[in-house]
C-alpha cells in the first residue's frame, strides 16, 4: 500500500466508511443511536478501542504466531474495551447507563477485529494508527449522523436542544424500525454522492 497518511484517514471516513459502505458493526450502530449524544459517545468509545488495538496489534504482528493470532487480537481488543468501560463508568456515569451493554459489546464488534486482521496485521504501526483513527472517525461520524437524524425525526431535538415540539415527532424513528429506515436512506444518499463524484 502506497497511500499517504491523509488518504488512509479519508478512506476510513468516506470511501470505506465502516457503516455506510462496509456495513460492519451494525449492532451498536442501530441500537445506541437513539439520540445524537449516545451515538457520538459510542462512536468515540469505539474510536479509542480501534485506535489502541490497531497500534498494539501492529506492534505485535511479528511475534504473534499465525495459529493463535485471532485469540491474541481479541485479548488486546478486550483490554482496551475494559479500560474504556471503566473510564466511562468513573467519569461519565450517566453515559455509562445509557450505553449499557453496548460498551462491552465493542469487543465483538466485527469492525474492530476486522481492521486488526485486515490492516494492522500487515501494515506499519504508523499506518495502522492512522487507519484506526480514520475508521474510528468514520464510525463516529456515521453514528452521530444516525443519532441526530433519529433524535430529530423522533423527538424534535438535536443533542438535547429542542428544534420543534415533541408531539410532531414520529416515535418510530426512536424505536428499532426507525434505525433501519434512517440507515437505509443515508446509504442511498451516500451511494448517490459517490456516483456523482466519479462521473
Amino acid at each position: 500500500m502506497k497511500d499517504s497518511g491523509f488518504k488512509i484517514i479519508v478512506n476510513g471516513l468516506l470511501k470505506e466508511n465502516p457503516i455506510f459502505v462496509l456495513t460492519l458493526g451494525m449492532c451498536p450502530a442501530l441500537a445506541t443511536t437513539t439520540s445524537a449524544i449516545n451515538g457520538m459517545s459510542m462512536g468515540l468509545a469505539t474510536l479509542f478501542v480501534l485506535f489502541g488495538s490497531n497500534i498494539v496489534v501492529s506492534m505485535l504482528k511479528n511475534i504473534i504466531p499465525d495459529k493463535v493470532r485471532i485469540l491474541a487480537y481479541v485479548v488486546v481488543i478486550a483490554t482496551f474495551e475494559s479500560v474504556v468501560e471503566m473510564l466511562i463508568h468513573a467519569y461519565f456515569p450517566s453515559l455509562y447507563e445509557s450505553l449499557g451493554i453496548f460498551i462491552p459489546l465493542i469487543v465483538v464488534n466485527c469492525m474492530v477485529l476486522g481492521r486488526a486482521e485486515a490492516f494492522a496485521a500487515t501494515n506499519s504501526v504508523f499506518k495502522s494508527a492512522l487507519d484506526g483513527l480514520g475508521m474510528g472517525l468514520g464510525f463516529t461520524f456515521a453514528l452521530t449522523l444516525l443519532g441526530v437524524a433519529r433524535e430529530l425525526l423522533g423527538t424534535g431535538k438535536a443533542f438535547g436542544y429542542v428544534v420543534f415540539p415533541d408531539q410532531y415527532g414520529a416515535l418510530i424513528f426512536v424505536l428499532a424500525p426507525g434505525a433501519f429506515i434512517v440507515l437505509g436512506y443515508i446509504i442511498v444518499v451516500m451511494n448517490r454522492f459517490k456516483k456523482i463524484r466519479r462521473l
Partner: protein
C-alpha cells in the same frame, strides 16, 4: 524481523505474555478508577434523594434495608437541623416492567404524602413506558401522584379500580411503577413510628438506634 513460527512453545509463551500484560494494565486502571466509580454512584444516590425530599439537613448514616422476599427497599430518613424528622426517601423497585427491572426513588414527607419521585433505572419502551419519568408528575387528568397519600388514595391504574391514569399504551409499565410506589410506602410506614418517637425522646443520638432490623416483611408481602 521474521514472523515467529506456530510452535507449541511460541504459542503458549506469546499468549501468556499478552494476557499477563493485559491483566496488569486492567488491574492498574481498575485501582485508579475504583474510588471515582464509587464516588459517582454515591453522588448520584444523594442527588436522587435531594430531588425527591423537601429541604433537609442530614440523612441517617445508614439506610434501612427491607426485603419482602422479592424486592429490596432502602429507606433513607432525613432530618432538619434540629433533628426533627422531615421525611424519608425510599428506593424501591419492581421486576414486572414491560422490559424487566424498574428502580425508583420516592420521597414521602412526615405525613406520608408523596413529595416527589425520580426513576433511577428503567428500560421501558422509549416514548411509551419511559414516559413514567414525568408522566406521574404532570397535572393532567388523574395522572399526577404527587401530593397524594397512599394511605387514603388508591394508587393503582384505573383499569384495576385505582384512581391513577395509566400511561397511554403502557399499562404494564404503569402498573409496575405504581406497584413500586405502593411498596415504597409500606416500607416507609413500617418504620416511621419508630423514627418519630426516637427524634422526640433522644434527639442527640438518633442515628444509633434506628439501625435495628425491622420485621414487617410478612405484612408488606400481603399487600402486593
Amino acid at each position: 524481523m521474521k514472523k515467529l513460527s506456530s510452535s507449541f512453545l511460541n504459542m503458549v509463551s506469546v499468549l501468556s505474555g499478552i494476557t499477563i500484560i493485559a491483566a496488569v494494565t486492567l488491574t492498574y486502571v481498575y485501582m485508579q478508577t475504583k474510588d471515582q466509580i464509587n464516588h459517582s454512584q454515591e453522588v448520584k444516590q444523594l442527588e436522587a434523594i435531594r430531588t425527591v425530599l423537601p429541604p433537609f439537613d442530614h440523612l441517617d448514616l445508614k439506610p434501612l434495608d427491607m426485603n419482602d422476599g422479592v424486592e429490596t427497599m432502602k429507606v433513607y430518613k432525613a432530618y432538619d437541623r434540629k433533628n426533627n424528622f422531615v421525611g424519608a426517601a425510599v428506593e424501591s423497585s419492581s421486576n414486572n416492567g414491560y422490559k424487566g427491572h424498574i428502580d425508583i426513588m420516592v420521597g414521602f414527607d412526615k405525613q406520608g404524602i408523596i413529595y416527589n419521585y425520580t426513576v433511577l433505572e428503567q428500560n421501558e419502551t422509549p416514548g411509551l413506558g419511559s414516559k413514567m419519568i414525568d408522566w406521574f408528575k404532570t397535572k393532567k387528568g388523574n395522572q399526577n401522584i404527587l401530593g397524594k397519600n397512599p394511605a387514603t388514595a388508591n394508587l393503582s391504574v384505573t383499569k384495576t379500580g385505582g384512581e391513577v391514569d395509566a400511561i397511554t399504551a403502557a399499562t404494564i409499565s404503569s402498573k409496575a411503577f405504581l406497584f413500586a410506589i405502593r411498596n415504597a410506602y409500606f416500607a416507609f410506614t413500617s418504620n416511621i413510628e419508630s423514627s418519630i418517637q426516637l427524634t422526640e425522646t433522644n434527639a442527640d443520638s438518633t442515628q444509633q438506634d434506628v439501625k435495628e432490623p425491622i420485621n414487617n416483611n410478612v405484612e408488606m408481602k400481603g399487600n402486593n
